[in-house]
Symmetry: C2
Subunit: 421 residues, 2 copies
């Protein structure tokens, strides 16, 4: 009897992570000689430690297939990293206990750089502890900061939502600017890398179109310079649309959204660059302004997913499984770009070591010299990633996102207290 | 020679106001015996006062047709009300001057309750000043607060965006809640009426689904009661999705988003109920939370427009013109609901007097007794308004929204200084 496979989701979820899940599930089932059953852990690696495993054979096949168009993490995700094997040996003993109890030989972990480190730890653990386990990563992150791969599933759809939203809201601002709003600020995610902010620039069809100013996490915020650019833009166009990364920094490296002097700004821990910037602009210019913070909405917007992104997410799930069947282990499938125009990509592989805990920033040459826009190279890179529409089915006016039942396998191990928070 | 027709947009724009514009333009052109040329004013009534008129015969016919799927106000809108005829006679003299110079006999004003008052003033002015003008309103507002009509074009699409977004973001929160975010807050527009907040509840398929708590502009915010509901929800579901109207009030009637004690919260003038609520919850519970403010995005989201809404916006534009051809004046087309299941509607008419400057709130019986949800009656009313999809064409990955050229007619009148701001 072949060993069973276990799939789990980790870190911030995306509009297409479930498409990867479906890729894994479908591919595992396509190789009955290689794999036994396919399980999913509830809430990522936490579910493995807690022995909360979902038997996917008990799910409605149509619901599993619908994962391809369902946002969020259908099996639950987690923010939890395994401890160091030296200091937290009990976690690894527990993993082996659970794997052994359910005859799990394959572990597919779907996440970003931190999750690839977890997958790597699981892979190494196996050999060390006499329970060989094939651990493989499946890439995912809206931040687009995974190394080696051309892009990360989840990014393209968030990018498409942001560019669409900027184009639409900018038409609104343009309509109103003579007698009302002069400045509109949109805050997007990206603590360290400004990929999502950069994607907003795809809304432009020609020079001078919104967004006129982008504030990247990578470029320290210089107030006087920004105000000068803002005023010049308003003089020229009558209004200004600004996109700001939540991770915008002050020149001293501190987070812009956390004010130095007023501790009431503490709420900005969770986004707040837009209201803070809005306050600053109001104080300095008196212009009427509006701001928006899209937060989770941008990474959950499956209704406007990029078809390229959905296809890549699904392909990454499948490639993880096919790689295992071909005899590989401790790897992460990557997307390789063969050509930009027309866009051609294929799947490749990289070692977990090469991506674990590494954050890939945006190259400086993707940002214009003045720091407020993106270059042609950035446009050429980004444009293919938002191509194609892939609408979910709608029922009674809204996208239909079926839910898995999530029935847990009977437990076979003693209970285990996970030390976290 | 028949007289010319003038169309203008007013107040906050919507995802479908241009569909009404197209309805007016197309219908006017369908009656060459009744109407001469069709012009549009730039920036609403301000453009009339400034004699900034766009000759639509100079626009690309395909661009005009594309108005049906283009958000924002293609001709520019304004926040400007005509003064009282007693105190501001010069404004009315100016209107007559411009109308006379361009032989305008028909004025179609597309806006909300305030704009209907402007249309009414224009209608009355004509008779008084010896230059008869047929003034007609075309309804529009995302707030759904126009009287008499069953709904207002613009609302259904904003409602569909909000319900979709709540459903999607809630799946995200649900995925993360065991080890991360427990509370997600979405702030929506609605200063006085909670229609948009109510629409969020359409995301629910059954009881207990997100959004678990809605804070309406109509129901005073009781902190202790809210916290109790929040805690109970988190105990039961593990997380809580809250939707809050920007217009939420304190028990004393003051705006919730403006803190009493800290003047640094002044920025909340433009939305800020979500960050403020977030701060309160964090202080009281310590839960990890996220918040989003969709602001203009919700009323510009043409990419997920409701087909019913688009059809009604277009029909309102056409009905305004057809009503004039049938000999009516000083009216606003209304949507009349003949049946809810199946949804059947037809166009009707009401006098401008009956809608000018009137705000129609949400009936109290649409809100559940506890004040945090909507009733079946509200669901029955709302559901038909978000039905059907009507995606715009996409080009290179994004919705294609062509722009009008906006070439102005040569001026024939002396310049005129508009006293506003």
């Amino acid at each position: 009897m072949p060993q069973n496979a276990l799939y789990a989701q980790s870190g911030g979820v995306t509009a297409v992570i479930n498409a990867s899940a479906w890729g894994v599930i479908e591919a595992v089932r396509g190789h009955p000689a290689h794999f036994g059953r396919i399980y999913a852990a509830r809430d990522g690696i936490l579910g493995v430690l807690r022995e909360e495993l979902i038997d996917l054979d008990h799910e409605d096949p149509l619901t599993l297939q619908a994962l391809r168009h369902t946002p969020g993490g259908a099996f639950g995700s987690c923010r939890f990293d395994l401890g160091d094997p030296e200091t937290h040996p009990e976690q690894y003993e527990r993993l082996v206990e659970v794997f052994r109890a359910h005859d799990i030989g394959y572990f597919f972990y779907n996440g970003g750089g931190g999750s690839m480190d977890t997958a790597l730890k699981v892979a190494k653990m196996g050999d060390r502890m006499g329970y060989p386990i094939t651990a493989v990563g499946v890439p995912k992150t809206i931040d687009n900061d995974l190394a080696i791969t051309d892009t990360s599933p989840g990014f393209g759809s968030a990018a498409k939502f942001i560019a669409t939203t900027v184009r639409e809201a900018s038409l609104d601002v343009e309509s109103m600017h003579t007698s009302s709003t002069k400045v509109f600020i949109l805050e997007v995610m990206g603590r360290h890398a400004g990929w999502l902010a950069a994607a907003a620039a795809l809304a432009q069809e020609f020079d001078g179109q919104p967004p006129m100013l982008i504030l990247f996490a990578e470029i320290p915020f210089e107030e006087a310079d920004f105000m000068e650019h803002l005023n010049r833009t308003i003089e020229r166009h009558g209004y200004c649309v600004v996109v700001v990364s939540e991770g915008l920094k002050n020149p001293d490296g501190s987070l812009f959204s956390v004010a130095q002097s007023h501790d009431v700004y503490a709420y900005t821990q969770l986004g707040g660059a837009a209201p803070r910037l809005s306050e600053l602009i109001r104080e300095k210019t008196g212009h009427k302004l509006h701001w928006a913070v899209v937060d989770y909405i941008q990474r959950a917007a499956r209704h406007i997913a990029s078809k390229v992104d959905v296809d890549q997410a699904y392909a990454c799930g499948r490639a993880a499984v096919e790689g295992v069947v071909a005899g590989h282990h401790s790897f992460m499938p990557i997307i390789q770009r063969d050509s930009t125009q027309p866009y051609r990509w294929r799947m490749g592989r990289t070692s977990l070591e090469s991506v674990a805990d590494i954050e890939q920033g945006m190259p400086r040459e993707y940002i214009t010299p003045d720091g407020y826009g993106i270059t042609q190279a950035a446009r050429d890179y980004l444009r293919p990633l938002i191509q194609g529409e892939d609408q979910p089915p709608f029922e009674r006016g809204l996208p239909a996102y079926p839910r898995i039942r999530g029935e847990l396998l009977p437990k076979r191990c003693p209970s285990f207290e996970v030390d976290h928070d």
